[in-house]
Amino acid sequence: MSAVIESHDHEHHHGPAKGITRWFYTTNHKDIGTLYLWFSFAMFLIGGAMAMVIRAELFQPGMQIVEPEFYNQMLTLHGLIMVFGAVMPAFVGLANWLVPMMVGAPDMALPRMNNLSFWILPFAFTVLLSSLFMEGGAPNFGWTFYAPLSTTYAPPSVTFFIFSVHIMGASSIMGSINVIVTIMNMRAPGMTLMKMPLFVWSWLITAYLLIAVMPVLAGAVTMMLMDIHFGTSFFDAAGGGDPVLFQHIFWFFGHPEVYIMILPAFGITSHIIETFSRKQLFGHASMVWAMTSIAILSFVVWAHHMFTVGMPLAAELFFMWATMLIAVPTGVKVFNWVTTMFKGSITYETPMLFSIAFVVLFTIGGFSGLMLAITPADFQYHDTYFVVAHFHYVLVPGAIFSIMAAVYFWIPKWTGNMYDERLGKLHFWLSFIGVNVTFFPQHWIGLAGMPRRVPDYALQFADWNMVSSVGAFLFGASQILFLFIVIKTVMGGKKATPEVWEGARGLEWTVESPAPYHTFTTPPKVTQ
């Protein structure tokens, strides 16, 4: 009798399906999280290879390796792939893996839509990348695709670009709806909103931002499509439109978008720093309020990307002050992380190293952002390498370091194996040195006047460009090591305990490592 019950039980709590179709048909949040993470890793390597082409061309002044037209295509695709293909899907992957486990839910709220929102992504990027092989080449107008560069003067492949952005947008919107519904409706009993882990909070806010701005991006590309093919003149001055309108619409999406790429990083860093400091995070509630106010402010600062297009003085002052105001909640967060580490018994495992580097280097990126916020100074800095240095500091050692930290932190939970600590540390130091050697000199060549988005430059910028390229090759190569470490950990390694890290807090550390295929089918009781 008991055998019968057991077999019935076994059938009910089945494991993953066999074969390749497991990945096509899966509705399991852990499978989909894995798919997202591998997809984003692949995109990271493709986008990274494009960055290598860019840095190789800039190694010396003069044109040596690629044609300027191809350089522009590399530049555009590098930006688009890193933003929409690497950083965003990586965070969605982490949300898939972690949000249900952190709130004590059995799965995401809408598992089939979850499958759909992942599986349309490879199509979007196949469409985008295939434009490289089309007549006239891939999009060459920069990731910001300003009209009329992206309308009147665009290569024919722009239509494919527009459709791929539509698909990416649909994927992000579905992902966000899923995250919000899961968080709002599937929390374990006792988990009030303010008791929620910060990664969950950061994703809740991010998902609302995505819901608010991805449709605006879809609207912008739809208007482009209509201008190009249906004879409208949204952005065409000859027909009564205005190209500056494009910039307003784009940055109304674009500024919240840059916070979409950093808020989940704030959540990740909070978890890692409190764990390795062996202290409770300082200021949980203030972290929540800081993230919320950053998100709200992100809607009223967009025009600081376009100070030089011509704006009334009052508007420039407003956007300058509003931008600087964001430094306040961001400062609160940095203060809280530092205070969490203060007098903690800190150990420096790889995730902690990446997180400390995140705090320091993201702050540097924040400060150069403050410099750029000063309107009169921005007239000087606008479209120089200083801007390139600024946003790479907040995105590479910001968003991407936090993703790497998250992978090292949670991979024992995902695979059941510990990663190789020695190799992890090596990866960290190579990346850390690589990132700084690449991007720090770009501040100087930017202040000295080197414009961004150029395949060639004046001789006085030669030395630091060469240094920057060497750093980029080091950073690029060290990501191959990262790939090796991840594969090695998936294949085997020291077995991880359920808790994995001494003093780790949160529901995900209460289940076994690797996490069973189904977790929290009966909701846990949240007390603390």
Binding site: V181, I211, V216, A218
Partner: protein, 190 residues
Amino acid sequence: MNEGGKKTIKLLCFAVLGMFTFSFALVPLYDVFCDITGLNGKVTQSTNAETSITAEGREIGLQFISHNNAGMPWVFKPSKKVLKIKTGTLHEATFYAKNTTNKIMTARAVNSVAPSNAKNYIKKIECFCFAEGIELMPGEEILLPIKMVVDNELPQEIKNIVLSYTIFDSNIEHSIIMNHDSDHEMEPSI
């Protein structure tokens, strides 16, 4: 899925649709905003220009500049580039345009004013830039008129006004075809 979940999904779907609509609503909102603030410096036709023709005011500099949009072959230039005018008086100026090609072409001029806060004090009674299309036969020349008055209320700190006009080929097709075929006729865009 419980009732609460269904409600959340519905609300979020409405939010997505709402924001998509909002992105299109930004187009007229931008025009209204520009009209109020003078942001893009476009002066529209004035209905109450006569009320600004009052006592002769102070002398200001007026400069006309012209641009041809990329690929626009016409000759297009102000008859007189720089002049001194008095505020509060009616002023007339002309632009010279010539179709240098051997086909019938329709053009459209877009105006802009600098500094942009002068915009609300410039009253245009007549301007070729209000026309939806200026059609010229091959080789035809024309003098395009402007009739305007600068209001006496113009802020004291503004001593010079630049009026800029850019001429566009209304029939230009979007160059998704890389080699622009100049004989290819297309419907004019709206």
